[in-house]
């Protein structure tokens, strides 16, 4: 277990601290002592409403969504053996958003929207990977170009749908596109999916380490490559779809978080995947706290903050990958 617990414990402590920060800070600050009072069943009516009904669900949603996106990104990077893969860059979030908007346009809600977003993410996955899969390997430039072009296609469809949809549906639809946690409802679906997905992929950690060395090498070392690759496809798409249904399309978390962690912790997926689940959550909670406070009482969509972090990271990676 060479030093797996130390980084994970540190990250868990950091996650708890970011949670506390996010709950105390905002348009109206609450002292940590008062937060503790509310969490243990005391405090004033106003504080209880503010914390238990607004900030805690929103923070939990941020924690789970960030984890979902970071794990999805890390999985795709192993699958494609390419550190630039990310659900947002490859247009998967766009596909999920189109699926969700279609359902909303038809006046459906709840589970149908989630299912439709999942279908959209899957279609986008198959489309991008299928088109980019040339004569045997996913070359970085080809994959990225395909992803960018397909994402542009999703963008056009989204604009079309916005143009023809009735005005009263527009605000709800716009939230998908900006990546905003203020509309996040109950966080439990995201949390459950994140925990289940982590339990599913953790035993595959060593197989993923071998897969990262190429499909032939992995097969020669006893990995059933095809089933593993398809499993990862489905899980990564599912994680993306759930993240998008919770908080809209938030970009670059899946790119920035695994990259940072690999720099510090190396590339053992048994450590990187759980670390991504925690660190992705931390990043999104902090970004959302920033988005809520920077021009308080107005709020920024959190997608703006992650993009401001993500774009330079992406460019740096691209620059160094030659």
């Amino acid at each position: 277990m060479r030093g797996y617990w130390l980084p994970l414990t540190l990250l868990a402590v950091a996650a708890a601290m970011s949670f506390l920060l996010s709950v105390t800070v905002g348009s109206a600050s609450v002292a940590p002592a008062d937060v503790w009072a509310v969490l243990t069943g005391q405090g004033t009516e106003l504080q209880r409403t503010l914390i238990l009904e607004l900030r805690v669900p929103r923070t939990l949603a941020a924690l789970a969504t960030g984890g979902l996106l970071a794990v999805a990104g890390a999985l795709m990077q192993v699958l494609l053996r390419n550190p630039l893969a990310d659900p947002y860059v490859l247009g998967l979030s766009g596909g999920a958003a189109v699926g969700a908007l279609l359902a909303m346009l038809a006046g459906l809600g709840g589970l149908v929207v989630s299912g439709s977003a999942f279908a959209g993410a899957m279609i986008a996955t198959v489309l991008v990977f299928g088109l980019a899969h040339g004569t045997g390997s996913w070359t970085p430039s080809r994959l990225l170009l395909t992803g960018v072009v397909v994402a542009a296609g999703w963008g056009a469809i989204i604009t079309l749908m916005l143009a023809i949809s009735p005005a009263q549906r527009l605000p709800g639809m716009l939230y998908w596109l900006m990546g905003d946690l203020s509309y996040a409802g109950t966080p439990w679906l995201a949390i459950t999916v994140l925990v289940v997905a982590c339990l599913l992929v953790l035993p595959l950690g060593r197989s993923l380490n071998v897969l990262a060395r190429g499909p032939m090498q992995a097969a020669a070392l006893g990995v059933a490559v095809r089933p593993l690759e398809w499993g990862i496809y489905v899980v990564a798409s599912l994680l993306t779809a759930v993240a998008v249904t919770t908080a809209g399309s938030i970009g670059f978390v899946g790119l920035v978080v695994p990259h940072m962690l690999r720099l510090v912790l190396g590339n053992d997926q048994r450590l990187i995947l759980p670390a991504c689940a925690l660190a992705g959550g931390i990043l999104l909670v902090l970004a959302d706290t920033l988005a809520r406070t920077i021009i308080a009482p107005e709020q920024l969509p959190v997608g703006v903050i992650t993009a401001l972090l993500g774009v330079p990271t992406f460019l740096l990676l691209l620059y160094r990958s030659r």
């Binding site: 595959l204 060395r213 020669a220």
Partner: protein, 255 residues
Amino acid sequence: MTRLQTTELIIDVPGRDDGRPLSLNIEPGQVWGVLGPNGAGKTTLMHTLAGLRAPRSGEVLLDGQPLLALKRRQIARHLGLVFQERQDGFPATVLETALIGRHPFLSSWQMESADDLALARRALTRLDVAHLADRLVSTLSGGERQRVAIATVLTQSPAIWLADEPTNHLDLHHQIAVMELLTEEAVNGRAVFMCLHDLNLAARWCNHVLLLYPDGEACWGPAQQMLVPEALESLYGQRLATTELDGAPVFVPVR
């Protein structure tokens, strides 16, 4: 004692006629050298024998069982392959790379034990790369990487070694060291099957030889019978001068 057999095997080289079906018996203790010009299908044969590629017809049998009916994990416990080409993907250290040779022997939740680590370190020492254990593979020279790849298969410790040009990129001394390592494996009851470009290494270290021609024609047998100048000259389309040194033939191309 594990053996690898092929029955009427025709490898699938795109756009080539079937040629001669291969019925090979690769037994413990044997060291096979596969010789042939570029594009004769040596790598395709290696991949087919490892079950990574389906043959056009015929079968590969591992201890009498068809390879394609076995689980990859089952195969990997008996059969190791040194690839000619490797992708880097993500950065990994030399020790981590050697350690993945234990993958087929560990269950999902199991971590590598101290024994696994010791095996990997011993393999690195054997290949003379132990001092590089903490370096990233991507920072090594071609020959060092080749030795790390061989150390990974040595950590895997298979009963059957398939090696696609194991002496690629190696300097003279390490070429001999690797040939000695593979011979030692055979003496310890393993079977070794490797592609070579150097006739003289084959003449000195291999006891069985398979000649693969570009048109799919093939012949195989004990090394002394196969390594005759006429056969080799027609194999490579190159005139050879032959002499003898320490009881083994030496082949030198002539202008």
